[in-house]
């Protein structure tokens, strides 16, 4: 009865919305958890190696931001592990024993990460400088390992293998085949690089905004330069990896690829459309580039691209226009970000300086948000493109969902709570930045852990 009142037709819709929302939220924090510590350690290394107090100050302040994003990410990650049971008990009941070992591995990485994050964040005062630096290195390694484990599970959902089923139950498992499933070689690096890219542009964008407001000291220049250089190196690699991934998907999950490009007829010389609307007659509107889709898939316009209706409508992904747009947006943003990196590279090569133009700072200021949009778009392509399957061509999402009712209630609560959480996180980071500007290098505001020895200086009314 309640289902007629609330906008969700079924518990399934509510469960999918909740999963999409919580994962879409967590993926930003998880990316920062993987990428930001690497950037922080680069600054730390520079500070120690070149006796650079500004770099050291940046590293120290960044570690406090890492502390917050890690704490919030740990919470949103825990929610996801609850959701494996709360939302998708049939999926986990049936296949938990197949993909679970990967999560067990992830558990180790996360554990070590939590331990070393604590040692690094709390060790600034009393550990010796280089010991302290090395205590941060495991964070970076564990971030990569954790990302591998989690994304390998998603790869497995796209390319399931390594198990035998009889009567709806898994009777045999080959863990190595599960861990190294065919989608791992392209999906895992794509996600790890995405995490680096997002972290780099996000951090750089903060300092770009500061410089646009006239704070052009060395602190801000270095705060922009370290993460932006990092991101500028990663972005072209990401473009190449993503290109490989798209070709592999055309091979491994042709229907997902057909939906991304809205290919309605199996053919050669398939054109590439930028934008447009996906209809049953193909793309309406948008910019058409003849033969490019075929060429991208097989380096020849003669390459055949499988069409969508080779499978029943029930087996096609929903929201094809969304998929098509998400894919185009991701590729488009990545292209622009490569351009931004080149701009920096050329200026540095010619003048050993960041570009003087205000437009460069404006572009960098936007790059953080753009990178996050690209990240979300990529995630939409992977997840919505796999529908209606939770385990590709083996289990449908609708067969995985919980039999409990009330998911729309939890989704509503989650929606409100996460919105508050997101706003609080951003506001807190802004307040910290404000305090740092006010305070001397010595008098820093408290970390999110533990009591501050002194209460942080209260802001004058209307200061922010």
């Amino acid at each position: 009865m309640l289902d007629t009142v609330v906008p969700f037709a079924t518990e399934l819709e509510a469960a999918r919305s909740q999963m999409a929302f919580t994962l879409g939220f967590h993926i930003v924090l998880a990316s920062l958890g993987v990428g930001f510590p690497a950037i922080m350690l680069i600054a730390n290394y520079r500070g120690l190696r070149h006796d650079d107090p500004v770099a050291l100050l940046l590293a120290r302040r960044w570690s406090k931001v890492v502390a917050i994003t890690f704490a919030v990410g740990a919470v949103t990650g825990t929610v996801l592990s609850f959701e494996f049971g709360l939302l998708w008990p049939e999926f986990t009941s049936t296949f938990g024993d197949v993909f679970g070992v990967l999560f067990a591995m992830e558990g180790i990485f996360f554990f070590l990460e939590a331990i070393f994050v604590a040692i690094y964040i709390f060790g600034w005062k009393r550990l010796s400088p280089w010991t302290h630096f090395w205590s941060g290195v495991p964070i970076v390694i564990c971030g990569i390992g954790g990302a591998f484990s989690v994304v390998a599970v998603n790869s497995w959902m796209n390319q399931p293998q390594g198990f035998t089923m009889s009567g709806g139950e898994v009777t045999d498992v080959d863990p190595l085949k599960v861990i190294f499933n065919p989608a791992v070689p392209y999906e895992v690096p794509h996600m790890i690089l995405a995490a680096y890219l997002v972290s780099g542009f996000l951090v750089a964008s903060v300092y770009a905004v500061g410089m646009l407001r006239g704070r052009r000291d060395r602190y801000h220049r270095l705060g922009l330069l370290i993460p932006l250089t990092f991101a500028a190196i990663v972005t072209p690699i990401q473009f190449a990896v993503g290109d490989t991934a798209a070709r592999a998907i055309a091979e491994d999950q042709p229907i997902k690829f057909a939906a991304m490009e809205c290919v309605q007829k199996t053919a050669t010389h398939v054109p590439e459309y930028l934008g447009g609307r996906c209809t049953s007659e193909g793309v309406k509107g948008g910019i058409k580039i003849p033969g490019l889709d075929s060429w991208l898939v097989g380096f020849s316009t003669d390459t055949k691209v499988i069409r969508l209706d080779t499978v029943a409508p029930d087996d096609q992904p929903p929201a094809k226009t969304l998929l098509h747009w998400a894919f185009d947006a991701m590729v488009g943003i990545c292209t622009l970000l490569i351009g931004l990196g080149l701009w920096l590279g050329i200026a540095w090569w010619r003048k050993r300086d960041i570009p003087k133009s205000k437009w460069f700072l404006r572009a960098t200021a936007l790059s953080g948000v753009a990178a996050v949009v690209a990240l979300e778009c990529g995630w939409i392509v992977t997840e919505v493109g796999r529908q209606p399957w939770v385990v590709y061509e083996i289990m449908r999402t609708k067969d995985a969902v919980t039999g409990a009712s009330g998911v729309w209630v939890t989704f509503s609560i989650v929606l409100v709570l996460y919105t508050l959480l997101g706003v609080t996180t951003v506001v807190t980071l802004r307040v910290m930045a404000h305090r740092w500007r006010e305070a001397d290098a010595e008098e820093e505001a408290g970390v999110p852990y533990g009591p501050a020895g002194e209460p942080p200086p209260t802001l004058p009314e209307g200061a922010t």
């Binding site: 917050i68 704490a71 919030v72 740990a74 919470v75 825990t78 929610v79 592990s81 609850f82 494996f84 049971g85 709360l86 008990p89 986990t92 009941s93 296949f95 938990g96 024993d97 197949v98 679970g100 070992v101 999560f103 067990a104 591995m105 558990g107 180790i108 554990f111 070590l112 331990i115 070393f116 604590a118 040692i119 709390f122 060790g123 600034w124 009393r126 009777t171 045999d172 863990p175 919980t402 039999g403 409990a404 009712s405 009330g406 609560i413 709570l417 609080t424 807190t428 307040v431 910290m432 505001a445 999110p448 852990y449 533990g450 009591p451 501050a452 020895g453 209460p455 942080p456 209260t458």
Partner: protein, 350 residues
């Protein structure tokens, strides 16, 4: 012992660690909540925050560990528990979100009011989360979780005498552990007033937990025959050990020997956890699903055991390192609450 039993043992090790370390963290939140607004309350809260600050994130990971081992080793039990107990587990998850964010933001919020709100959220969710987890344990122990997707009653499965008593017992146990730990932490911070403060609370919490444990056995007798029978037979030695440890800890606390009280308090809790394990054996869901039936294929079980072995080699030394550094106060961002001056007056920090 089959590899399924070994994985169940690994699961129980995780449950034990989460109960002790996660439980003590929940308890610290509980004491923050009830500490009140005055100067003494503020110092007590500060000590609790200072003590758990560097370790709470790592302690929290034990929960993830338990969930992952459960769904990997015994996926059917996981799916059955999480679908039938959708409501209390959703509430526990909600509590974890509020607790984590409350703790992260209580020091950084913009205004005093904001900080206060974050601290309240942290305290309140530290109380509710273990309570709902306790109701889940009660539901499982009393055989109210059948096999299948949401096959059990969504409400009465966890709203019943056993669940409510065990929920309360969880809260009391967390408070007890935390108070005993905080007595030692107060000594480490050389704050004699707080040492007395938490000694009194540890004694109170010990009596509450003991009374609830007795009540728990009574309701189990009435409503959870299988677990009760096994608890009073095979599990009896562990129940006795728990009682003796609890009494010993009481005596040592009264004598002001926090050092000896700590392992005894931990022993009392660990004995109860394993007593519950022995009482359920060989069932994961009493009389409905046993370990062998729920167990994953052999290769998966071997995988879990290998990962656990690696974890012992890598994670245990790291945890020991973290705890050692924290106990020696090598890693701390800020100062502990100041010791009480000779006059017994309480100084303001800063």
């Amino acid at each position: 012992m089959s590899s399924a039993d070994a994985v169940a043992g690994v699961l129980w090790v995780g449950v034990t660690f989460y109960t002790v370390f996660g439980g003590a963290d929940f308890g610290a939140g509980f004491w923050s909540l009830v500490a009140g607004r005055g100067e003494r309350g503020r110092r007590a809260r500060e000590l609790a925050d200072w003590a758990i600050g560097p370790v709470w994130e790592a302690n929290h990971v034990w929960l993830i560990f338990v969930l992952v081992v459960l769904w990997t080793g015994f996926s059917e039990a996981f799916g059955s528990i999480f679908s039938t107990l959708f409501i209390p587990l959703s509430l526990a998850a909600l509590g974890i979100v509020l607790r984590g964010s409350g703790f992260a933001f209580q020091r950084t919020a913009r205004t005093e009011k904001g900080r206060h709100l974050a601290a309240r959220l942290f305290g309140l969710s530290s109380l509710l989360t273990p309570f709902f987890m306790g109701t889940v344990v009660g539901a499982i122990a009393s055989g109210r979780v059948p096999v299948g997707n949401a096959e059990g009653d969504p409400v009465t499965s966890w709203l019943n005498a056993v669940s409510l008593v065990i929920g309360a017992l969880f809260v009391a146990t967390c408070a007890y552990l935390a108070a005993v730990f905080l007595v030692s932490d107060a000594r480490r911070a050389r704050a004699a007033d707080l040492e007395r403060y938490f000694t009194a609370r540890a004694l109170g919490a010990a009596l509450a937990a003991g009374a609830l444990a007795v009540a728990g056995i009574l309701v189990l007798n009435a409503d959870a025959e299988y677990v009760y029978d096994r608890l009073t037979q095979e599990g009896l030695p562990l129940v006795i050990v728990s009682g003796l440890c609890g009494l010993g800890a009481l005596v040592l606390l009264r004598r002001g020997s926090a050092r000896g009280a700590r392992p005894l308090a931990v022993g009392a809790v660990v004995a109860v956890v394993w007593g519950w394990g022995v009482a359920q054996f060989p069932y994961l869901l009493p009389e409905k699903l046993d370990i062998a039936d729920a167990a994953a294929p052999d290769a998966t079980l071997t995988g879990v055991l290998i990962v656990f072995g690696v974890a012992v080699v890598l994670v245990v030394p790291a945890i020991v390192l973290l705890f050692t550094l924290a106990q020696r106060s090598v890693i701390e961002e800020t100062e502990a609450p100041r010791a009480t001056p000779p006059g017994g007056e309480i100084t303001r920090l800063g």
